[in-house]
């Protein structure tokens, strides 16, 4: 069986992204229209639009497994692409597709299940000797036990309150001589805060980088990797800016980590696109974190440096084809950066910003790619993710890529809502960022101003406010009010008015 038609169980930019590859491959694309955004751009790009049947429950449309399967069956669509988010990593959904004879474009239900469960995933990684962050399995109460475990996993370690949330009861222990004092502090703090003195011990990685490897496998047992991406610019575990390759990875390390990534994928007979995430410490030691069994939001940076269409690969593999390239044929060319443009108010703690796009001007130039589902008139609703666009650039090297990204951001204008564009500019202009000194605490530690301001922006804003205030005042008062017209009434009106008094 080969894929002739494709149902996209997703929306927004990723739906458009998948449609464009489907068009290229001559596959008929179907999208789902919901009442929450009946006029969106992705609906106009697809070959066919299917209206989601009237809902009688609270399950959001794109999470409604049975209805989506029913839609595919009803329209005789033979494959489903889940995009990212929603049902992309739901093993039950992949299984239901399998049962109903629909090709699920993604890995096997078994692989999704195993990698989706963090405990199982870590067990598998451990079994294959992939480095993991070591720690105590159970909470500990005694100092001797703490000392013993810390000695085993090596300093520095972090003590976390077992019942803890946030940073309370958390202590970083640098060396064994500090353990006695800090253990006492951590446990008494935990006791005070949570009425439970027990703590966990874990290996502490200071200011790590987030490095992930794009891997691909086919249904014939072949697995390769397409190099790494660095996603260290994060806020509360939310990636905001990604790049490929990473300044921290040289050829040797790439080879080594890439092999580890392939190893873990092979361990679960992985096929389709996947991402293996690592933490990388300042001494270039890496630790396996987790594997994502879907196409990632940031997949375009890999596409830019490899020149490949990853969605096309996903479809071909789902079709049973072999991987088109061998590991030694994968070439990394130049540098790519992706800026996520979110409808968020950076100045009020990145809170979602709802509203209507009044005007949009998208930069178009060589080496710049914009993946987006918005246009003039699009309404940003609270129903979906706040990401509204991705700006992806390519350059011969990192400096040129940064320049291209800044130029493009300067020309990217979205009116009507607040976005993270000024934030992306601030990151790209940051000295430490330019030097490649990244880690997952970059935003907290390095970024003094969360948003970029033009030198005279405040002055211009003040002038603009004064101007519009003056204009507003004028329109309300003196000059424009014409009293004569109200006073000189026709005799018909005036006489009758007076008589009726």
């Amino acid at each position: 069986m080969s894929i002739k038609s494709l149902l996209i169980a997703n929306r927004g930019e990723i739906a458009i992204r998948i449609i464009s590859t489907a068009k290229k491959m001559g596959i008929k694309s179907y999208v789902i229209k919901t009442t929450k955004e009946p006029n969106e751009t992705y609906l106009q790009m697809a070959d066919e639009v299917i209206e989601f049947p009237a809902k009688h429950d609270e399950i959001p449309e794109f999470l409604d497994i049975e209805s989506i399967i029913l839609i595919a069956k009803k329209h005789k669509i033979n494959a489903i692409h889940p995009g990212y988010g929603f049902l992309a990593e739901n093993p039950y959904f992949a299984k239901r597709c399998e049962e109903q004879g629909i090709i699920f474009i993604g890995p096997s239900p078994d692989a999704i299940y195993k990698m989706g469960n963090k405990t199982i995933a870590k067990q598998i990684a451990g079994k294959h000797n992939i480095p993991l962050l070591k720690g105590s399995v159970e909470s500990i109460k005694s100092f001797t036990e703490a000392e013993r475990i810390a000695e085993k996993i090596g300093y520095p370690v972090i003590l976390k309150a077992a019942a803890g949330v946030g940073g309370r009861g958390m202590r970083i222990v640098e060396k064994s001589s500090e353990m006695a004092k800090l253990f006492k502090l951590a446990t008494s703090e935990a006791q005070k805060a949570f009425n439970d003195s027990s703590v966990f011990i874990e290996k502490y990685v200071r200011n790590p980088r987030h490095i992930e490897f794009q891997i691909f496998g086919d249904k014939h047992g072949n697995v390769i990797h397409l190099g790494e991406r660095e996603c260290s610019i994060q806020r509360k575990h939310q990636k905001l800016l990604e790049e490929a390759p990473s300044v921290a990875i040289d050829d040797t390390l790439r080879k080594k980590m890439g092999e580890e990534a392939v190893k873990i994928a092979k361990a679960v007979n992985y096929y389709s696109a996947g991402t293996v995430e690592f933490l990388l410490d300042s001494e270039k030691k890496y630790f396996f974190m987790e594997m994502n069994t879907r196409i990632q939001v940031e997949h375009p940076v890999t596409e830019m440096v490899t020149g490949l269409d990853l969605i096309e690969w996903q479809i071909r593999i789902a079709n049973g084809e072999k991987l088109p390239l061998k590991q030694n044929e994968v070439k990394i060319n130049g540098w790519s950066i992706e800026c996520r443009i979110n409808a968020e108010d950076v100045q009020s703690n990145f809170s979602p910003f709802l509203g209507t796009i009044k005007n949009i001007s998208i930069p178009r130039s060589k080496n710049v790619r914009i993946d987006t589902g918005i246009r003039e008139g699009t309404e940003i609703t609270p129903y979906f993710d706040s990401m509204i666009a991705k700006l992806i650039v390519h350059g011969e090297n990192r400096e040129l890529a940064i320049e291209t990204a800044l130029n493009a951001l300067q020309k990217f204008k979205i009116k009507g809502i607040k976005t993270t564009i000024p934030f992306c500019k601030a990151v790209l202009n940051n000295k430490a960022f330019r030097l490649g000194k990244l880690n997952t605490s970059f935003i907290e530690n390095e970024l003094k101003e969360l948003y970029f301001q033009e030198p005279d922006e405040e002055l211009m804003a003040a002038l603009f406010v004064i101007y519009s205030h003056a204009k507003e005042l004028k329109s309300e008062t003196a000059a424009v009010l014409n009293y004569d017209k109200g006073k000189h009434l026709t005799p018909w009106v005036l006489n009758k008015r007076i008589k009726s008094l």
């Binding site: 005042l473 424009v480 009293y483 008015r497």
Partner: protein
């Protein structure tokens, strides 16, 4: 007259004496409370250099009890000047002189300026910042209040009267504002109550703060006493100016005309998409208002009180109009006690001052409930009905969606006296909504059916197709026309132009008996 002579010197000395009353300390004291002085307020309100004060040397009455501090002007500044180029009269109470308390001379100054405003047919504005009746002057100050009230009532419906509360207004002092057409308040610095927190504590043993008892937020959201609330005094006084721009000076004139660059023939296609396909979904009626009126600008009255009805002033092709619109976003746009009263009073004002009324209707009916019935939705709903029926200014209604039952009649239907009644194709006009109607008419059939849900759905659809639409009303002439929503502005402007010289002869009577 010799400039350096004795005669002139006495004159300048007196002027100097008057000035000295406004000491720097007092001014700073007022400023430290986040308030402006009586004089500063006047300067903000009037066009610069146009204000003329009168009675500045009227001196406080002699009293025999308590502390007396005789002053020129007796704690109130009165006068006239131009606001946006038009004559207006004002009194501005001065809290720095005897707490702005109302003594005999204080009240007679106010009465004098009120009478002048009425004689001249010009708006009267009161800037209120007063501790209340002057206790030392006893009954004389109470009599002063009563005199002011009687002038308020005499001027009602003849000249626009606006009260601006910029500090305390307690006891009798609250009733003059209540008698005027519109009440402004400034957030955090103004209070209004009949009995203050101290009395509440003594009589009822209840603890309450000034703000919670009678602050601007209470009166703009809960009681509806304040029609407008602004963050600070500057914006409050600008608001007064803005409001006045929609009014004529008196009940014989028409409102000022404003040249507009918004085309009278503007076809607004966005209006076609405003009403959702699903009749149970809500939308923001203010978006509709914005798309219809000149340059999308309107001035809302009582924005935060009884939000299920929106009332506002706006302009159509340069002419002032008053808009009454059901707001589907709140309580599904139903009419209840508060919204009926709110809209009724607004209609009375528009009618008194020759401002045409445009009604945008999407009302599923009156709000059902024990509370509503027990608190007199009948009498209160009748106020709105009376106000609409009694108004003789041009009255136009556009039915956007729902117009069910008694609420249809009340909201200016043709038989109540609407001059032009339009409807959008999305209109549903009937005695009740589809679900209710089907449940009553086909109670038995549905109960006996094998698939009651399906049958009900079919019947509801049938009801919609055959009854709950605008075409039956159009065929009977109950509606003048079913219109394309995009042409709403054009239709309103043309019909208002046709009604420009409308006049209705009303029977001779002292006055009607409004269900107050």
């Amino acid at each position: 007259m010799d400039k350096n002579g004795k005669v002139f010197k006495k004159f300048t000395d007196r002027k100097e004496l008057y000035k000295q009353q406004f000491s720097k300390e007092n001014i700073e004291k007022q400023h430290s409370k986040g308030k402006l002085t009586a004089r500063e307020r006047i300067d903000l309100l009037f066009d610069s250099g146009t204000f003329e004060e009168i009675d500045s040397f009227v001196t406080s009455s002699d009293v025999k009890f308590g502390k007396t501090s005789k002053s020129y002007g007796d704690g109130v500044i009165t006068g006239y000047g131009k606001i946006s180029g038009r004559l207006a009269f004002v009194f501005s109470q001065d809290f720095t002189i005897m707490g702005g308390s109302l003594g005999t001379k204080h009240s007679s100054k106010i009465v004098k300026i009120q009478e002048m405003a009425l004689k001249m047919g010009a708006p009267m504005i009161g800037l209120i910042d007063s501790g209340g009746a002057r206790i030392q002057e006893g009954v004389a100050s109470l009599a002063g209040y009563a005199l002011i009230f009687s002038r308020n009532v005499r001027a009602s419906g003849v000249i626009p009267q606006i009260s601006v509360i910029l500090g305390p207004a307690a006891g009798g002092a609250v009733y003059s504002p209540a008698l005027t057409d519109f009440v402004f308040m400034t957030a955090k610095t103004s209070y209004m109550f009949v009995t203050g927190p101290d009395v509440v504590r003594e009589v009822l043993n209840q603890e309450v703060t000034f703000e919670d008892l009678g602050g601007a937020s209470v009166h703009s959201k809960k009681s509806g006493v304040a029609d407008f609330v602004f963050e600070d005094e500057e914006n409050t006084l600008l608001g007064v100016k803005r409001l006045l721009s929609y009014f004529p000076s008196n009940n014989l004139e028409n409102a000022p005309y404003v040249e507009t660059d918004d085309s009278a023939d503007r076809i607004e296609e966005r209006l076609r998409d405003v009403v959702p396909d699903d009749p149970n979904k809500s939308y923001d009626i203010k978006e509709v208002i914005k798309l219809i009126v000149d340059n999308g600008k309107f001035f809302e009255v009582s924005e935060n009180y009884s939000q299920n009805i929106v009332i506002c002033f706006a302009r159509l092709n340069g002419h002032s109009i008053g808009i009454i619109a059901n707001q589907p976003k709140f309580l599904a746009g139903t009419l209840d006690i508060n919204s009926s009263r709110k809209a009724a009073r607004f209609i009375r004002f528009c009618d008194a001052f020759n401002i045409p009324i445009v009604t945008l209707e999407d009302v599923p009916g009156f709000l059902p409930g024990i509370d509503q019935e027990h608190n007199g939705i009948i009498t209160n709903g009748a106020k709105l009905l009376y106000a609409y029926a009694d108004a003789t200014v041009p009255k136009i209604t556009v039915i956007l969606r729902k117009a069910y039952g008694g609420a249809f009649c009340v909201m200016n239907c043709r038989h109540l006296g609407g001059d032009f009644n339009f409807a959008w194709p999305t209109a549903e006009i009937a005695v009740m909504g589809p679900d209710g109607a089907v449940a009553i008419l086909y109670k038995k059939e549905i109960a006996e059916s094998k698939d009651p849900v399906k049958l009900k759905k079919e019947l509801v659809q049938k009801y919609r197709d055959e009854i709950a639409n605008p075409y039956i009303a159009e065929e009977r002439g109950y509606l003048d026309e079913v219109i394309d929503p995009a042409y709403t502005r054009i239709k309103l402007i043309r019909s208002l132009a046709a009604l420009e010289n409308k006049h209705v002869n009303t029977p001779q009577r002292k006055h009607g008996n409004v269900p107050l």
